[in-house]
Amino acid sequence: MEEPILNQSQAERHDAKIISEVVSETISTSVIDKFFLEVASFSIFTLRFFKDVFRPPYELNELAKQAFLIGYKSLPLVGITGFIIGLVLTIQSRPTLANFGAESWLPAMVAVSIIREIGPVITALIFAGKVGSGIGAELASMNVTEQIDAMQVSGTNPFNYLVVTRVLSTTLMLPLLVVYADVIGLFGSFVGVNLSGDVTVYLFFSQIFQSLEFQDVFPAIIKTFFFGFAVGLVGCYQGYNSNKGTEGVGKAANSAVVFASLMVFIIDVIAVQITNLLQN
């Protein structure tokens, strides 16, 4: 007997059945297998980035646009965060230092904390939340609405246009944002010191510059390039490889933040170990 034509709702159910079969098959894959498949897929994605980054055409206009959107548009959030960190750290540290009679060390201690660790890591985490999730959601949405396929069939390399430009932008912009956050954070600290004291700008910053060394600043800046790279790459990976459907968009944005934040911590641990090894 001939199979009847499916009406619209039957057709949708038929599609849903196929999808559920595929999902069941995916779930039945063991967690370990899935983990290694994900690692392999991410490694291939990373290698493709390094291959395509040197391959023309260079999308310089898109790179400049993304640098503006990713860097300039993040200034208010990063600035406010930096200021609050500097202010709160100073207010919280003052009583403890006062107990030891080391209140005069407050600017130096706060400066070293902010520049070496807190500034880069907190800024990178804020950046992962704002920019990483944005990239993940944007690319996933483009994937769902077939915009990436449309680029591909029009003879454009979507990886070059979408991924390379965004990863380069995050890599170049995060260090600048961290420097900006550090400076604002130190001003926040200056305000904190002056809430219950009277220290001039000159004296405050003299103490900071006397306490800081090249090895405090340089490794901290270098690691932010890696933080930026990780945030951009993870965001792009999650968005570019998202599942079709609106659920995939939310999942991509969420995974981008979670994995980018995790990567920031892992890179930080490695960077601290390398810095310590080099200093010893």
Partner: protein, 259 residues
């Protein structure tokens, strides 16, 4: 009408039907245990509109995505404009894609760009040295051809469903493709707009002399646009013929499309 008897003409310049621009032989594609395309054989001739019918989930969209290389085939031979798709990689594939236009079901418009930027996007990438004046004139001409002259500086989100389809078509046609692939061009549109899109498909065939593959469930669109129709069932081409041939078929399964 023929059943399970699609002629093979991979390297033949058919004097009666014209030059073969797309030829498929024993195409197979599976997703896990779901064998979507099991043995597809078909040809498309120069200047011909071929309509593909079939139930949802029978792999019609998969078929045309294979033609542009968005989905890789498992088995079979696919020759497009005398080039074997399986042998094409990198720049060669990009060059072939420039000759193929693809109208997505959703339009797939770049929603962060204006109408103008949507049209400029493929041009800027394919013709990098194109002067600004020439670029503008090509964009305006493309919009004029689909009747969207006044919408040049607005965002795609502000366009209606029919206008989005037209814009998608204009963006595709701006590179003057030799082959057009339409993925359900009238889905989600009212009957009047569907009719307009069908007329536009015919105009494109006439003006640009394109060969087209049209995936549709809309029998009115099929009737208006098709030179030939094939029906896919269980992953194979189950029937082929003109609209009238198939409409008068005694096969109840084929008949159910026309009821």
């Amino acid at each position: 009408m023929s059943t399970n008897a699609i002629p093979m003409a991979l390297e033949r310049d058919d004097k009666q039907n014209g030059l073969v621009v797309v030829a498929m032989e024993h195409l197979k594609k599976s997703f896990g245990n779901n064998h979507v395309l099991q043995d597809i054989n078909l040809v498309v001739h120069k200047g011909e509109n071929l309509v593909v019918l079939g139930k949802s989930g029978t792999g019609k969209s998969v078929l045309i995505k294979c033609i542009v290389g968005l989905i890789e085939l498992d088995e079979g031979k696919l020759v497009i404009l005398e080039q074997d798709m399986s042998a094409l990689k990198g720049n060669d594939l990009i060059e072939l894609r420039k000759k193929i236009g693809f109208l997505f079901q959703s339009g797939a418009l770049y929603d962060s760009m204006t109408v103008r930027e949507n049209l400029e996007f493929p041009l800027r990438r394919q013709l990098r040295s194109l002067p600004k004046a020439k670029l503008d004139s090509l964009v305006e001409e493309a919009l004029h051809n689909v009747g969207l002259d006044t919408s040049i500086d607005i965002m795609p989100a502000e366009l209606s469903g029919g206008m989005r389809k037209r814009l998608g078509l204009a963006r595709t046609l701006i590179l003057k493709p030799e082959i057009m692939l339409y993925d359900e061009p009238t889905t989600g549109l009212d009957p009047i707009t569907s009719k307009e899109i069908s007329s536009l498909i015919l105009e494109v065939q006439k003006i640009y002399n394109t060969s087209s593959i049209i995936i549709t469930h809309d029998m009115e669109c099929a009737r208006r646009t098709a030179n030939r129709i094939i029906v896919i069932k269980d992953g194979v081409c189950a029937a082929e013929g003109s609209y009238d041939d198939l409409a008068h078929s005694k096969d109840p399964w084929i008949q159910s499309f026309f009821e």
